[in-house]
């Protein structure tokens, strides 16, 4: 990196929902540096009042996602090199969510929608029963496995234009979790899941444009999971009529 390239111009969104403003910082550039490193450098060296959220720093916990140059990213695993434009970075809280302060988005609506989509475990057995066997290679299990590595980072939720334009829409992560559970042998009451995702704002509101699958940092495919829900709910409609 040559001399004039060794500082980054970083624009950071500050404040809370409705009262946001932008602030510029100069941050030393390094050969190896993540966006989270940049945010941490600012907090440690320029302005200790900067609020942001992270925990694991290795792409496991899903707490560090922010908008970087207008696109949702997991900041702990996004190298500055990959996203920087002319030595400038703009960093903002995740789109489609209220802001707690500065770079920390309020995840409440995101997690409320997981519950609304029945995206929680419905156990088949109690502790007194023998363990449920899981056949590792059957089709259903593979469908469940496809979405199981979701880290709840809400990158997909921020990337989705349907979420942006339709308040009621449950969003890609919650619907993908519903699909994962629907296919899980250890989960009961698939009908409750199908009913939940068939309500207004459910899977049928998805326009299948695929921003969620494009941006998911774990390379999951919520769009296809939602397509699965659409198919199952439609089939189920005819099944129930009979």
């Amino acid at each position: 990196m040559d001399q004039k390239d060794n500082t980054l111009k970083v624009t950071v969104s500050r404040g809370t929902s409705g009262e946001q403003f932008e602030q510029e910082f100069e941050v030393p550039a390094y050969e190896n540096q993540t966006v989270l490193d940049v945010v941490s450098w600012i907090q440690q060296n320029s302005d200790p009042t900067l609020s942001y959220r992270f925990a694991c720093r290795v792409g496991m916990c899903g707490s560090c996602a922010m908008m970087v140059n207008g696109e949702p990213r997991w900041t702990c695993r996004t190298h500055v090199k990959k996203v920087v434009r002319k030595n400038t970075l703009s960093i903002a809280p995740l789109r489609n969510l209220p802001v707690v302060k500065d770079l920390a988005a309020d995840m409440t609506p995101f997690f409320d929608k997981w519950v609304d989509a029945e995206g929680y475990h419905h156990p088949t057995r109690t502790r007194h029963d023998p363990m449920q066997e899981v056949t590792p290679n059957d089709e259903e299990r593979n469908r469940a496995n496809a979405g199981i590595e979701c880290i709840n980072c809400a990158v997909c939720y921020a990337a989705c234009d349907t979420v942006a334009n339709n308040d009621a829409y449950l969003g890609p992560a919650a619907l993908q979790r519903a699909w994962t559970l629907y296919n899980d042998q250890k989960n009961e009451n698939g009908q409750a899941i199908l009913d939940a995702v068939s309500r207004d704002g459910g899977c049928h509101s998805c326009h299948s444009m695929g921003s969620c699958s494009l941006y998911c940092p774990n390379e999951l495919d919520p769009m296809s999971a939602i397509a699965g829900l659409k198919r199952e709910t439609a089939k189920n409609l005819f099944r129930r009529r009979r």
Partner: protein, 110 residues
């Protein structure tokens, strides 16, 4: 639940429309290639139960399909919702049915 019903209605009308679109295109190409005049075309379509049903079904499917799609766009782009949104969508459906129906009748009734 309403959205799910509309979703199904939109898919089913799409299913109806697909073969009708191909039929319509085939008829147009045939009419143009054969050099049929307007009077000759009307001579074949007027009084034909087949063409009445063909284009009648088409108009019916289009009206439902399009008004559901426009309802979604209106909701997402203008924030319109609830009863007002449904009323506007129903109005669009009625207008398409009226306009299309009028054309079908003009071409197929004697």
């Amino acid at each position: 639940m309403l959205e799910f019903r509309l979703y199904m209605a939109q898919r089913l009308t799409a299913l109806l429309m697909a073969p009708l679109v191909f039929g319509h295109i085939a008829v147009m190409i045939y009419a143009v290639q054969g050099g049929l005049s307007a009077a000759e075309i009307l001579g074949r379509t007027q009084g034909s139960v087949f063409w009445f049903l063909f284009y009648g079904t088409f108009v019916f499917a289009v009206s439902i399909h399009a008004s559901i799609g426009l309802r979604t766009i209106l909701h997402e782009w203008s924030g319109l919702k609830g009863g007002l949104l449904n009323a506007v969508a129903a109005l669009i459906c009625a207008a398409l049915l009226a306009l299309g129906g009028r054309a079908v009748m003009a071409v197929t009734l004697l």
